[in-house]
């Protein structure tokens, strides 16, 4: 189950990034890049919280810039 979710997250991340590279290479239009990025975002946020056990960093209440 965990592996399936991880693969789903990877697919989500790939849908966010790879279309922009294809757009760069001239193989995709801009509106398709936006749509796939949104689909990838939905997949990422639907799957990642279910498996990502990343602990809250040490002193996560600290401020980053």
């Amino acid at each position: 189950m965990n592996n399936t979710l991880k693969i789903a997250s990877l697919i989500g991340l790939a849908l966010v990034t790879i279309p922009s590279v294809i757009f760069f290479a001239g193989g995709m239009n801009h509106s398709a890049v936006k749509t796939t990025a949104l689909i990838g975002t939905i997949i990422w946020f639907a799957s990642t919280p279910l498996w990502m056990g990343r602990e809250i960093p040490v002193d996560a209440d600290n401020v980053e810039i």
Binding site: G12, F24, F45
Partner: protein, 475 residues
């Protein structure tokens, strides 16, 4: 993640060891720090800072090489300034300061910290509001005066966003910290995608176009024709990249993190945060503005509109999450700092007050537009406390004085620390905010960080020698 690692991580994050050194059983391997810093420093501020480089007239070559050198210097500072002290003492910044400066002085430092955090959070409220306003067609404009409001509907959105953020911060930072963790890899991917899309929008999708850099120069020329000639040179970029996190490395705030490091090699871990967040993300965010200028001749560095232009709704979501996950812990920390002064007041009330100050600051778009200066000022004000810790650690014994003076004397207010902090900071702030003969255009804030740090250390050493000349050494 193994059970052993889970336990270690829980121990590390549960707030234990705040008033005594981290024991060997709770130490963490270098991998933990690399993992943690990978998600750090790709935040809401990146959407503002990147475009400001372009708006300030930085050349592409200076930006590429200046950020490289500046970020490398920042990593060296973490590795060789912070990590050795963190590993030797294994205490939080606040506890170390308390032992040197006294509890009352740490409260004062904390309040100053809290006020600065409010302004940083205010900039993030502005960033998030800029994205929320896009679907409503809200006009984002930066008025000329520092305390000029934006359009009425933008101000209304700022108030709504600020109130929501303050309420969430008052509830605690755990949930938002989890969201920030989960969003971090996605956010880095969004920054990369934004940069690549922007290059394509500017027809810079061939090796020759990329290396020629005309797309960047055209954008600079357009901005300078509109807003007048400005310069942001190589060394200014180097110093800014090096010292924009001055409070964390020179100021030793990250002692609280590296006190858990098993080996000094963990001190290299900020490299991943720097080169993803303060290199790739800044350049990508700058490219967003360059693309907007080419496509719509609009030089407004509106983070929401910039991300919308590249990735549509995904960009909007990213700016909102980035701003929110940065503002939230900032408001929370400010609330804690204010509570330190009024210990009987509920944390929730203090956090809401901090949120109100941040929201008020967020209503003035010009404040977030001056983020390059603010970040340098932040390092100038907080950095010198790191020099006090540095001197206490390396020089007090060498000069025949006792370390951690306040702790050993039962003193709650070490006047030597106060003067060593205030004198250089007051001089630095004067040069930053007031034109002088030496700096007719005022001093670029990041330039003040290192001189103030060195001056603080020297003054502390001299004053300690004068004020406590015969304090006996304690083994």
């Amino acid at each position: 993640m193994s059970d052993e690692h889970s336990t270690e991580a829980e121990t590390a994050t549960s707030g234990e060891f705040e008033r005594h050194p981290v024991p060997d059983s709770a130490l963490l391997g270098a991998g933990k720090f690399w993992g943690m810093y990978a998600g750090e420093h790709a935040a809401g501020t990146e959407f503002m800072i990147g475009p400001l480089f372009l708006a300030a007239g930085a050349s592409l070559q200076d930006l590429l090489f200046g950020l490289l050198l500046g970020n490398f210097l920042a990593v060296l500072t973490w590795r060789f300034l912070v990590t050795p002290i963190a590993i030797a003492k294994r205490m939080t910044l606040y506890y170390q300061l308390e032992r040197i400066a006294g509890g009352s002085l740490v409260k004062l430092y904390n309040v100053v910290n809290g006020v600065l955090f409010c302004f940083l959070a205010g900039a993030m409220v502005t960033v998030s509001a800029s994205a929320v306003g896009i679907p409503f067609g809200t006009l984002y404009e930066v008025p000329e005066s520092t305390f000029g409001l934006g359009s009425p509907d933008f101000t209304l959105i700022v108030v709504v966003v600020g109130v929501v953020m303050a309420i969430i911060a008052a509830a605690g930072y755990q949930v938002v910290a989890q969201v920030a963790n989960i969003a971090a890899p996605w956010m880095i991917a969004i920054f990369a995608a934004c940069g690549i899309v922007s290059l394509t929008q500017m027809d810079a999708n061939s090796i020759s176009a990329l290396s020629e850099g005309k797309y960047w120069q055209d954008a600079i020329d357009f901005v300078q024709e509109k807003d007048g000639v400005q310069q942001f040179g190589f060394w200014q970029i180097v110093v800014f990249a090096w010292l924009c996190n001055g409070a964390m490395h020179f100021g030793m705030a990250d002692l609280s993190i590296f006190r858990f490091a098993r080996s000094p090699s963990s001190g290299w871990a900020p490299a991943i945060g720097m080169f993803l967040g303060h290199y790739m993300a800044w350049i990508a965010a700058a490219l967003l503005l360059a693309a907007q200028i080419k496509l719509s001749q609009d030089t407004t560095a509106n983070p929401g509109a910039l991300a919308w232009g590249a990735l549509g709704w995904t960009g909007i979501i990213c700016v909102i999450i980035a701003g929110w996950t940065t503002a939230n812990p900032t408001i929370y920390r400010a609330g804690l700092a204010f509570q330190g002064v009024f210990p009987k007041s509920p944390r929730v009330v203090m956090t809401l007050i901090a949120g109100a100050v941040a929201t008020t600051a967020g209503a003035f778009p010009n404040l977030s537009d001056q983020l390059l200066g603010f970040v340098g000022t932040y390092g100038t004000v907080l950095g010198p406390m790191g020099a006090i810790i540095f001197v206490d650690f390396y020089f007090m014994r060498r000069f025949g004085m006792r370390e951690e003076n306040a702790f050993h004397q039962g003193n709650s207010f070490n006047v030597a620390v106060l003067l060593a902090w205030l004198i250089p900071v007051a001089a630095g702030l004067y040069l930053i905010f007031v034109p002088t003969q030496m700096f007719p255009d005022k001093l670029f804030a990041a330039y003040a960080v290192v001189p103030c740090w060195i001056a603080s250390g020297v003054i502390y050493l001299l004053l300690s020698k004068l004020m406590h000349p015969k304090t006996p050494l304690v083994s």
